[in-house]
């Protein structure tokens, strides 16, 4: 009961406060930018051929769109309507793809991003932490130093640069992977071997760009953590007691170094709703990151809010889950 009162309930309250404040900020910020979705739609109508719309009727169109987009009334009135809709699971229509519901746009994009990012983050996390942990433990070895230099070189490479290199090498010089889309033209989703291979083939290059850069970060952070853990008293004591090196490495050093990495992993997974904007843009991959970019450039308030709400909710949930799981995996939290 004590842990419930002193640990779990405060964290759940904190979760709801974070979500409420985050969503409120998400609502307010776009309205204080110079973006006007109605005017942007009219600009688009005007620049794409309907410029012969009579000037007076453009004004009429402006009123109609303000009505249709639900942008009538004060910001507070819009805010109240927004919460009312949100509690009913409705983000309203996308303004740039009117009247398609925001939920439909998000649900079309999110599976691609989830598949791409969850796999990429997990692969990078596993490989980076495994090698980083060993390199940290054997930090004096020559090969560990070489690996550190490689990781330190790869980690700061911008995603777009890595993406471009991969595209040129594997899409042009040795054209073995497709450079666009999530599936081949004409491929219908099914549980067939052909479909799965096609899916993997399209996701391979974007995923590889994320994994290569991701590994660098996980490697360096894990190496730093395990180097520190290695010098802890209990590790020194275990070595003095003659416990096998493999057990010290995996059971003492890596296990204890992993805790902050697990937190970071959870936050990274929670952040997948943000998408991988640059990667998706370069590989023309149909994920949520590019949808968010489209929403921002088109002044699509509702879509921006829909994606941001998902993102806030998922990151806050991931942090909450980790907070709640910590007492189970780290005894130090239980005894505090």
């Amino acid at each position: 009961m004590r842990i419930l009162k002193r640990y779990i309930i405060p964290r759940i309250i904190q979760f709801f406060v974070v979500v409420f404040v985050g969503i409120t900020i998400t609502f307010i910020v776009p309205r204080f930018t110079p973006l006007d979705p109605v005017q942007m739609t009219i600009n688009r109508v005007a620049s794409y051929g309907a410029q012969y719309l009579d000037a007076e009727t453009l004004e009429h169109l402006k009123q109609t769109l303000t009505d249709l987009y639900g942008l009538k009334g004060t910001v507070f009135e819009q805010y109240v309507r927004f919460w009312d809709r949100l509690l009913h699971g409705d983000f309203g229509p996308s303004l740039a793809m009117f009247p398609t519901p925001v939920m439909e746009v998000i649900s079309n994009s999110i599976p691609w991003t989830l598949g791409l990012l969850i796999m990429s983050v997990l692969i990078a996390w596993l490989i980076g932490n495994f090698i980083g942990g060993i390199a940290g433990y054997f930090s004096e070895k020559r090969w560990a130093k070489v690996l550190s230099v490689i990781a330190a070189t790869i980690y700061p490479i911008p995603y777009y640069f890595m993406a471009l290199i991969l595209i040129i090498v594997f899409g042009y010089l040795i054209p073995v992977f497709p450079i666009i889309g999530g599936l081949s033209i004409g491929m219908q989703p099914s549980f067939s071997f052909g479909f799965i291979i096609d899916l993997i083939k399209h996701a391979f290059l974007p995923s590889l760009s994320l994994v290569i850069v991701g590994i660098g970060w996980w490697f360096l952070s894990m190496k730093a953590l395990s180097s520190t853990t290695k010098s802890e008293d209990y590790v020194q004591y275990a070595e003095a007691a003659g416990i096998p090196q493999s057990k010290i490495l995996f059971g003492y050093v890596m296990k204890n170094s992993l805790l902050p990495q697990v937190t970071n992993l959870a936050l990274s997974l929670g952040g997948v709703f943000n998408g991988a904007l640059v990667t998706e843009y370069f590989f023309a991959y149909p994920g949520i990151g590019q949808t968010l970019y489209m929403a921002v450039t088109n002044g699509d308030f509702n879509l921006m809010m829909g994606i941001s709400v998902f993102s806030i909710f998922s990151i806050a949930s991931a942090a909450l889950v980790i907070d709640l799981l910590y007492p189970l995996i780290d005894p130090r939290v239980r005894y505090r």
Binding site: P34, T100, N108, I180, I185, P286
Partner: protein, 629 residues
């Protein structure tokens, strides 16, 4: 051991070969039957074929392949095409009734005949459903619309309007396309209907599309003869059309270099330079320098908010124009690849013929008052100077410089600009300009980085004005902010593109918005006249033009008078036309329009594109079912 490595090598090579063969993104149809076009709008997270809704994007193949309307005018050739209409519109004496005779024998792709009822239904549906693109327009103008017979539509208008037909005339990009009555009449709420699968009135049908929004695949109709394209120009040559978005331009260049993208929307000059060296079949418009297509129907200008000091002063605007060395701007900012726009219109081939060349003499004689003297600001020699520079760079200039770079622009005359500013109370100390109240003169020039020429113009001109002694900074903003600030008037100076053109000489539809009645206070969104120009003379001319029918010889005179007023007042500084590197690959298809054969615009993103398709010819270099040798 050797054997082991050989086996491994074999496995790797086989794997690579298999992947290479399956790495193609293209549909499994013979490449020689397929035309691949860059999708203008990029990715569409949701494809909606109901293009009559305001937010729907039609340029990713929908209007080019599936839609049709009554008339088209090609901006390059100026050719009027009777599409669904059998002939041009017929107006009564006072232009309150417009009668349209339709072509017989046109069918929707589902076998239903296209008739006057479809046109009537389109107009009435728009009127009855506020929110459709043309709802306001048709409500404002149409008193009644009815089918006189199966192939004749009569529009009764609420007020005389001799240009009503332009709503059904693709002059630039698109127009009001015709709805299929037999489909939409069964729909409860047409505004929520996504018209999927679409029924086509164009020469193609939708075969498949990417739900994730990257490609749209069309197949030529078996009954293409029963479409306007088939009737006017014959069979569209490609059996299949693929509109596809490859992503950033680097990937478009790679795709065209591999012959996997026939038509690109637009490239930066740098990207084009890479592409032409990688693919000998790639071309834009001119065979040699400056390559680019310079017939896009807009021109860039340095726009002022005319309600703000000191840009509300005519001498100041003229001083800013004369402090620009345009030759330097063209060479340093655009590597010599831009056509000059001295008049406030886009000098396309057609508009050069209608306005620039006929007004050249007037421009040469035109003077502005500088102190007690008259100064002739126009310099017709600039195109020749640019051509000379190009030749020195080793480029071939095979055409008349005036046809490429325009008729000229304003002289670089900083001494005259200085006199004008001093007359207006400005002072210059230590090479820096000060406002009449003694404060330093600072200009913030707004540009759009996504529109590379807008940004380049802003930076190049800022450099010129800094040299002249004005503290000028460029502020680049995202598209949404850029256009919202434009409509709100939230700028001092901006690199926008307010001047336009079309294939017809009647400029009133394009220029009506410059009337003073559309001026609104800064901070209030403006759909027209965003620079807030209040000109009684220009408004009077526009009022006179409004009453004349297209084709009336007085219109041309009034249009030229209007451009003279623009020059005299210089409400914004028109600089260069919107050029485009809309590259096409002649590896699979040939006979695209070019400077040598300018039969049509190379605007793959306009509705007019469907009429270009019958002119294409297969080269025989790619496998084809249809064009087997």
């Amino acid at each position: 051991m050797k054997k082991f490595w050989r086996v491994w090598l074999l496995i790797v090579l086989t794997g690579l070969l298999t992947l290479t063969l399956t790495a193609q993104v293209l549909p499994k149809v013979p490449r020689g039957d397929l035309l691949i076009v860059d999708a203008l709008h990029g990715r569409l997270a949701k494809t909606d074929f109901n293009i009559w809704k305001p937010a729907t994007q039609a340029g990713n193949g929908i209007q080019q392949a599936l839609m049709d309307t009554l008339w088209y005018v090609d901006p390059t050739s100026g050719e009027w095409i009777n599409a669904l209409a059998a002939e041009p519109p017929i107006y009564n004496e006072d232009a309150t009734v417009m009668t349209v005779k339709l072509r017989k024998g046109i069918y929707w792709s589902d076998g239903v005949e296209f008739t006057a009822d479809d046109v009537v239904f389109t107009v009435k549906t728009q009127i009855e459903h506020p929110g459709f693109n043309y709802s306001g327009t048709f409500s404002a103008y149409v008193k009644d619309v009815y089918a006189k017979d199966k192939y004749t539509v009569v529009f009764e208008l609420k007020k005389p309007y001799p240009r009503f037909h332009n709503f059904f005339n693709v002059l630039i990009y698109g127009a009001c396309y015709i709805m299929p009555k037999h489909v939409f009449e069964k729909v409860e709420d047409p505004l929520k209907f996504d018209f999927n699968p679409p029924v086509s009135l164009g020469p193609y049908v939708l075969k498949d599309y990417d739900k994730a929004g990257y490609w749209w695949f069309f197949e030529r109709r078996e009954d293409w003869q029963r479409t306007s394209v088939g009737m006017v120009y014959g069979k569209p040559k490609p059996k299949y059309l693929l509109f596809i978005y490859y992503g950033p331009e680097e990937k478009k260049v790679l795709a065209q270099a591999q012959h996997q993208l026939d038509c690109i929307f637009d490239l930066t000059p740098e990207a084009w330079d890479v592409l032409r060296k990688r693919n000998k079949y790639s071309m834009v418009w001119y065979k040699d320098f400056p390559w680019a297509w310079m017939d896009d129907v807009a021109a860039r200008g340095l726009c002022f908010n005319l309600t703000k000091f000191p840009y509300n002063i005519r001498q100041v605007r003229w001083a800013l124009a004369l402090s620009i060395d345009i030759k330097d701007v063209i060479i340093s900012g655009f590597n010599g690849i831009e056509r000059l726009a001295p008049l406030h219109e886009a000098p396309t081939t057609a508009f050069m013929k209608y306005f620039d060349k006929p007004l050249k003499e007037w421009l040469e004689d035109f003077t502005i008052q500088v102190g007690d003297e008259q100064f002739k600001p126009f310099d017709p020699t600039i195109p020749d100077q640019i051509a000379e520079w190009a030749k020195k760079q080793g480029y071939n200039v095979t055409m008349n410089p005036e046809d490429i770079w325009g008729i000229g622009w304003w002289k670089y005359a900083p001494d005259v600009a200085e006199k004008l500013l001093k007359e207006a109370g400005f002072t210059k100390k230590d090479g820096k300009w000060y406002l009449p109240n003694g404060e330093p003169w600072k200009i913030t020039l707004v540009g759009l980085p996504a529109e590379i020429d807008s940004a380049r113009l802003a930076f190049a001109v800022a450099d010129q004005w800094r040299k002249f002694g004005i503290e000028t900074n460029v502020e680049t903003v995202e598209a949404g902010v850029f256009w919202t600030r434009w409509s709100l008037g939230d700028f001092d100076v901006g690199s926008y593109w307010p001047a336009s053109a079309s294939g017809v000489s009647d400029i009133w539809p394009l220029y009506q918005g410059w009337h003073k009645r559309y001026v609104v206070p800064t901070g209030q969104a403006a759909s027209n006249n965003q620079i807030r120009w209040t000109s009684n003379i220009a408004s009077d001319i526009l009022d006179k033009m409004a009453t004349l029918k297209p084709g009336d010889p007085r219109l041309m005179e009034l249009s030229r008078d209007l451009f003279k007023v623009f020059v005299e007042e210089m409400p914004y500084i028109c600089t260069v036309i919107n050029k485009k590197f809309n590259a096409y690959d002649q590896y699979v298809w040939t006979n695209f329009p070019s400077a040598e054969n300018p039969y049509m615009s190379t605007a793959w993103w306009w509705g007019t594109f469907k009429f270009l398709l019958p002119f294409l010819e297969p080269t025989g270099r790619a496998p084809s079912e249809e064009y087997k040798k």
